[in-house]
């Protein structure tokens, strides 16, 4: 009985995988439109972080406060050999709802690594860039490329990194 179950389950999993693989190769011409992202919650919103920029997601490390920094720069942390700043993503991107960070997403930037706090990590998924909704009024939405059909804010790493308030000089 047990064995039967396992066999059935395995068959199902294999079938699902085959479906997935088949779908991907079928849509190959659209790959330029596809972007792999990780969905994370921040406050009451969901953010999508492009995997190509993501180094790792770690549990909230111990963060050391640094003087003369604005409140959205939470401090510095030592994550696997590198020293990086940790940014309150909710505050920088003006996310709605109260954020209770439990993880730090470490992203690659042209200058070096940067940590972004997120509340929880949901899943990773391929999204189609052509299906993004770009709001007309982008003034209250910073560092965003648009909103996915499932209402996640796609993070624009380039504009995030070039926000002037990220740099203390």
């Amino acid at each position: 009985m047990d064995l039967e179950d396992k066999r059935a389950k395995r068959a199902r999993v294999l079938a699902e995988r085959a479906q997935l693989l088949a779908r991907r190769s079928g849509e190959e011409k659209d790959l330029g439109d596809q972007l792999e992202v990780v969905f994370c919650t921040v406050g009451s919103e969901v953010f999508a972080i492009p995997v190509e920029h993501l180094r790792e997601i770690v549990l909230l490390p111990s963060i050391t406060k640094v003087p003369s920094c604005p409140s959205w720069i939470l401090g510095i942390a030592h994550i696997r050999g590198s020293l990086l700043s940790v940014i309150d993503l909710g505050q920088v991107c003006r996310a709605k709802g109260e954020s209770h960070p439990e993880h730090v997403a470490v992203i690659h930037t042209p200058h070096g690594p940067l940590g972004l706090t997120v509340d929880s990590v949901l899943s990773s998924k391929m999204i189609a860039l052509s299906k993004l909704t770009v709001p007309d009024d982008r003034s209250d939405r910073r560092a965003s490329l648009g909103v996915t059909p499932d209402l996640a804010v796609l993070l624009d790493i380039h504009s995030l990194v070039s926000l002037p308030e990220l740099v203390v000089e």
Binding site: T64, P67, S68, I76, H78, L83, S85, V167, V168
Partner: protein, 699 residues
């Protein structure tokens, strides 16, 4: 023949030494300490050898120059003529040009200039080549070069070395973490042992297990000592790999002196004494700029013009001297000149203009010089020259050196004897020494280079002047106080009656940094702050403590830069007495006093701790307490002496006292009672309840 880089280095050194020798010859000749004949003979030899070396090194252009000068000197020698003054200058200039050219891989605009002048003198030998003497010389030089080559050296890409260093620093940090774990393990074992002593019923059950545990702890401690020793050896070896002889920067310094002297129309020479001193590659590179800056300054501001020097019967050729010596883990570089020195009146006037000192202020000369010379934008130079006097200078030098974990100080010499600046830098950046302190609940590291001493000061002995809180140093000087927690924008805790102060200094300036606790000496590896936090005022970097936490490294210079910042942030913070009862705990054991403090705090008392009788007595005198809980055996003044002192004290006489001790013989208890203690708690039976019951009985 392929020219090995090592070989070129030999040629560079030789040409550099030739310039030194030539400058000393021209100097002696102009001083008339050697006759013209001897000068021409020796200068000829110097140029002849230089020519040979240049040929060997594959530097045809400077070789031509050397040959032409040699030829001129040969002619003078034959004719028995003394070289005219313009010729002396040309000879020097020619050798300088050769030095520049070999530094710059074979050519330099200066060469063409010299060549033109030489052609003007009618040199016929500009195209002549090789003779027998040259061949012998080449052979000699080859032998020298081979000696250098035969050393067992290998070349390593600096990136690989850096990677190795990074790994090494992680290793070092891990070791500090292990050491902390080790002492925690020891602590556990002691607590375990105390528990067993107190509860005989546990002893029977746990004796065997505990013995095993003890054995394990001892073994671990042995292992830890071994690993610590290995880490220290490894650290030493890593440092050695990065070391380079300081003498390697001599050519660059010499070029700086020559160029500055030529452009400012002065006569100057560089003398160096570096001995065998070696510096970390990174430190050496970082020092190049500050050093050349100091040297340019010395030629520009320090050295007088020819006329002025002649008037003062000084040698026309001014001297800029750079010496190095090893002082402990640091290297001291002393840059001095024999110029006019510092005009104190001028400096004071400028300082007053800049508002750095009040008119007729009380600063000592050395304090004044220090404050003013290193002030951003300060300059007494009359004209803004190409070289210095723009007022960017010494302050930049000081911050560069400080970034390396070093200091700069200035020594004034007798009038007209020039000045000396001392740069003290750690010889290695692999690991630096610092003091780990607690402020605003976070750990910070203060570089040892800036620390003069740590001490405790009574809050009621502080004064204030011009809105700044000051304390009296042990030598009677007033020292301004600043609170590190405020500097780091951390919440200020309430100040205890006895403040912990770290006296930091730079040059002749001093400051007292108030911290909550001094955690002890630490060896640290500094890391730069991340890319988006390049310039954070007051912080030069961070260091990780082995575990995942980071400590910021304090930029002591920054504290000095923002002088006079008299804010309420830097005053004592004492809230008015609450209706909480205050208890002073005196115990030399950290574990005991922490335990007692926590018990009492939890029970709602206000608690202050001191680690010996003497400090406890001072604290009692400085502030009001309702009760004293004291250990018996303590250094400096034990609990019995403390009890007697309190009983004999005119104001404290009636303070309730509880003695807590492991001495439980009846005569010990009697002694305590005779000294005047109200209660006597034996540590063997010590428990929370006993202490609290005794406290509640008394207050």
């Amino acid at each position: 023949m392929t020219i090995d880089a090592e070989m070129i280095e030999v040629v560079r050194r030789e040409v550099g030494e030739a310039l030194d020798e030539l400058l000393s010859l021209t100097e002696r000749f102009t001083n008339e300490t050697i006759p013209a004949e001897a000068f021409v003979r020796d200068a000829f030899r110097v140029f002849h050898n230089t020519k040979g070396a240049l040929r060997l090194g594959g530097f045809p252009e400077p070789e031509r120059i050397a040959h032409a000068v040699e030829d001129q000197l040969a002619k003078m020698r034959l004719a028995g003529e003394a070289p005219p003054p313009h010729m002396i200058d040309l000879i020097e200039q020619a050798m300088c040009a050769c030095v520049y050219a070999v530094e710059a891989d074979g050519t330099h605009p200066e060469l063409a200039l010299v060549l033109k002048k030489l052609i003007g003198t009618g040199s016929e030998a500009l195209a002549e080549r090789s003779d027998d003497a040259d061949r012998t010389l080449i052979e000699n030089t080859v032998t020298r070069a081979e000696v250098v080559n035969s050393h067992n050296t290998i070349r390593i890409e600096s990136e690989r070395l850096d990677h190795l260093m990074d790994l090494g620093s992680e290793y070092l940090a891990q070791n500090s973490r292990l050491k902390r774990q080790g002492s925690r393990l020891r602590d556990f074992s002691e607590r375990f042992s105390n528990l067993l002593k107190r509860h005989p019923q546990l002893r029977d059950i746990l004796q065997g297990t505990f013995a095993e545990f003890e054995l394990f702890v001892r073994q671990e401690e042995r292992e830890l000592r071994r690993v610590t020793q290995l880490t220290a050896d490894f650290d030493g070896a890593m440092r050695a790999v990065r070391m380079q002889p300081l003498s390697g920067i001599v050519p660059q310094l010499r070029r700086t002196v020559n160029e500055a002297a030529r452009d400012l129309n002065k006569k100057a020479r560089l003398t160096t004494d570096f001995g065998e001193v070696e510096l970390d590659r990174e430190v050496l590179d970082a020092l190049r700029e500050p050093l050349t800056h100091l040297i340019r300054n010395a030629v520009d501001h320090g050295l007088e013009g020819d006329l002025e020097r002649a008037e003062q019967q000084k040698n026309i050729r001014g001297e800029v001297r750079v010496e190095a010596r090893v002082v402990g883990a640091n290297v001291e570089l002393i840059v001095s000149d024999d110029g006019r020195g510092i005009d104190l009146k001028k400096v004071r006037r400028r300082a007053e203009e800049l508002g750095l000192v009040s008119e007729g202020g009380l600063e000592s000369d050395s304090e004044l010089v220090d404050k003013t010379l290193f002030f951003p934008g300060f300059s007494t130079a009359r004209a803004v020259t190409n070289y210095s006097g723009r007022g960017v200078g010494l302050d930049v030098v000081r911050s560069r050196v400080s970034e390396l974990g070093g200091t700069v100080s200035v020594q004034q010499r007798a009038a007209g004897e020039g000045i000396a600046l001392t740069l003290s830098v750690p010889s290695s950046v692999v690991s630096l020494r610092g003091l780990s302190v607690l402020a605003g609940g976070s750990t910070y590291v203060i570089p040892s280079a800036h620390i003069e001493r740590t001490l405790r000061v009574f809050a009621n002995e502080l004064g204030s002047a011009e809105g700044v809180t000051i304390m009296k140093s042990p030598d009677g000087q007033p020292i301004r106080l600043r609170w590190l927690s405020s500097e780091m924008q951390r919440p200020r805790v309430e100040d205890p009656a006895l403040l912990q102060v770290v006296i930091v200094g730079e040059g002749s300036q001093r400051l007292g940094l108030v911290v909550e606790e001094v955690q002890g000496d630490t060896t640290y590896v500094i890391k730069r702050l991340p890319w988006n936090l390049r310039r954070v005022p007051g912080v030069i970097g961070a260091t990780h403590q082995g575990d995942a936490t980071l400590a910021l490294v304090v930029d002591v210079l920054h504290l000095f830069r923002q002088q006079g910042a008299a804010s309420t942030e830097h005053r004592l913070k004492v809230t008015p007495r609450t209706n909480k009862r205050r208890i002073l705990v005196a115990d030399d054991s950290l574990t005991s006093r922490t335990l007692e403090r926590n018990i009492l705090l939890e029970a709602g008392f206000d608690v202050e701790v001191q680690e010996d009788g003497r400090n406890a007595l001072k604290a009692l005198e400085a502030s009001e307490f309702d009760l004293l809980v004291s250990d018996v055996q303590m250094p400096n003044m034990d609990g019995l002496q403390l009890t007697r002192a309190v009983r004999a004290h005119p104001k404290l006489g009636r303070l309730p006292i509880i003695l807590v001790t492991s001495l439980d013989r009846p005569e010990d208890v009697n002694q305590g009672a005779e000294a005047g203690a109200d209660e006597y708690i034996i540590k063997g039976q010590f428990d929370q309840e006993a202490l609290l019951r005794a406290v509640n009985r008394l207050i």
